[in-house]
Symmetry: C2
């Protein structure tokens, strides 16, 4: 039997949600997890430190291909794997653009992909100039390590990031875009270069964290979003799933905000809402299998994140109520300990009626899970 | 965290396909498997002999509820678990009717459920009388242990089952029904008695083994099938998923053929074809959670079994071709070693057009997987 195996570094919910499609396709999924109690524990074969090259290399030798649950694996480790002949998907060249926002902005500008105005900041004077030239405000980001609103500040003066400037590392300054809404475009690209694109979705953030996803984004320019995502996937040589977060402006422009080179929160709807989910597609893409259909299974799909409300509610306590109120809702819980604000699960609903119909189902379930 | 756990006796493909919904609902799935290389190996916590009461009891004490991947666990073992205070779903009372076809026929007759003519046979003379009274032929079955055509003979004389008669165990004789097609009705019932019913499906058998399932069965009497399945689920006190296999006759009658008290081959389509799959529903039912919606996700769903063609082809060898020809097909492979005739996987396709559209997708994928 020609067994395919995929090694995932990181044992979070993204790795966890790869278990189902790996089981379907008889792919031997192995996870390098941080701790015994990780969401992907069922598939964990190593508990270790992903910054330790020797540990990661030993794990990598047990699989056909290495991929990721998060973008925090040091590029030196990834390059070391490649030097040792390991297939890493996405590879170090592509990952660099997901890890380093300055590199990403530079590469996208070279590709001609529409972005907010941006500048590399190495001192207070340059930042204040940028702020002045961009309407009196800027979004300042650390080049590396930020996510879910961390490592991001909206400022009106360099005084507000003196602590970051004092670290001596270049920062990224971006124009504060006056957007009407946020979109996310998912695309998958396999090792041979085959590409598959889902319809663009609308994402609704609360306090910097994704709260809702509506698929497809109502009245969006699907084609423009697809063109941008394809250009990035091909231009940066991405393999696996790529999520392109975008701003939509009042005059209908799409400007790229962030990139993620892995299954992404904006694509969780695809488990039920698409013929092929982002998790199966990621496994196909990194294994260089032909990609599956991204056709929608229903007219509308919505996904609501279940963010922790306190240190007690893990949501499973309220299944009876949620399932009684919303038998059509698809409930996903990641098996994490409860903590306020933590991404602990999500609810998906689909509808062939209106977007509102799908939202009503998902909200009934989510409210019951959140409030009991 | 209130962790729910379900213990499954048997590590076959049915247990394997419970892994995905268990992961979604954060149910701790534990499998008592027969061997290291079982399809459900990922969830196996014990490798043992399910006829050994002490082994099964020790396993049962590690979970909230015990359920089954097959119906071969001796009733004495099941009763022993119940005596030890273990929750077994379905319970020994109900399981008896799935294990013993004579008990099943008797109970269904008491419930007034339409069945073929039948008789308990303890000697050649009674059988020959039954054959004479039923048009010159009978289907003779061993009361226990038969499945997929095993333990079943169509005979015109008692001479053809003298070997079985000589064993001294009563046999079941059934009228050889002249049916136009075979249907299967899936139903789930939770511990509190809540019932959910999928639309009845058509099953197409080849050499006594399920080859295709079409959901819903075209032009079938959905209501009549549902009434029968509900009567059986309630009348026999079934918990979990119950599959009722039926004959449809030329004059439109439905006669019950066989029962299975677990997820069933006729319900594999529900993974993609229904809002709630039979595997998730089984976990909900035995955990006494409210049942999910059984609504169809598309107008038509078809499932084709992938039966082993030889000792080499495990189907994963032909993924490239199948996925290229049919990107819409949903491929499921159970990770079994190749063997001719073995149930090694299945393909599902859905369509909002015609049944033929779904069949074309599924057949393109299945043919590529079977023939390479």
């Amino acid at each position: 039997m020609k067994t395919r195996s995929v090694g995932v570094i990181g044992g979070g919910q993204l790795a966890r949600m790869m278990i189902a499609p790996a089981t379907e396709l008889a792919i031997d999924l192995k996870v390098f997890a941080e701790s015994e109690a990780s969401p992907a524990a069922m598939a964990a074969t190593v508990i270790g430190d992903y910054t330790n090259f020797e540990s990661v290399l030993a794990f990598a030798k047990s699989v056909d291909v290495i991929t990721f649950d998060h973008e925090h694996v040091p590029l030196t480790v990834v390059k070391g794997l490649e030097a040792a002949g390991i297939s890493v998907q996405p590879n170090a060249h592509a990952l660099n653009f997901a890890q380093n926002k300055l590199e990403m902005r530079h590469a996208l500008s070279v590709l001609g992909v529409p972005c907010p105005n941006w500048a590399k900041i190495e001192g207070a004077a340059t930042l204040d100039e940028f702020i002045k030239a961009n309407g009196g405000a800027a979004v300042v980001k650390t080049a590396m390590g930020g996510y879910d609103g961390k490592g991001v500040r909206v400022v009106r003066s360099s005084q507000e990031v003196l602590d970051w400037l004092s670290l001596g590392k270049p920062l990224l300054a971006e124009q504060k875009v006056e957007f009407t809404r946020e979109l996310a475009q998912l695309v998958a690209r396999n090792v041979d270069g085959q590409i598959a694109v889902w319809p663009v979705v609308q994402t609704i953030q609360r306090e910097g964290v994704c709260a809702e996803v509506h698929s497809p984004a109502p009245n969006a320019n699907l084609q423009a979003a697809e063109v941008i995502a394809r250009a990035i996937a091909e231009g940066l040589g991405v393999t696996g799933v790529l999520a392109v977060e975008m701003f939509e402006t009042a005059d209908g422009r799409l400007l790229v905000n962030e990139l993620a080179m892995r299954p992404h929160n904006s694509g969780h709807f695809s488990i039920e809402g698409s013929v092929t989910s982002q998790f199966e597609q990621h496994l196909r893409a990194v294994s260089n299998l032909p990609l599956g259909s991204t056709e929608a299974t229903a007219k509308h799909a919505v996904m609501l994140n279940l963010l922790g409300v306190d240190d007690n509610n893990t949501f499973v306590e309220h299944f009876e109520k949620a399932m009684t109120l919303a038998p059509e809702a698809r409930i996903h819980v990641y098996g994490k300990a409860a903590r306020k604000g933590r991404k602990m699960g999500h609810v998906t609903a689909t509808s062939n009626g209106t977007l509102g119909d799908a939202l009503a189902i998902a909200r009934a379930a989510a409210n019951a899970l959140l409030q009991g």
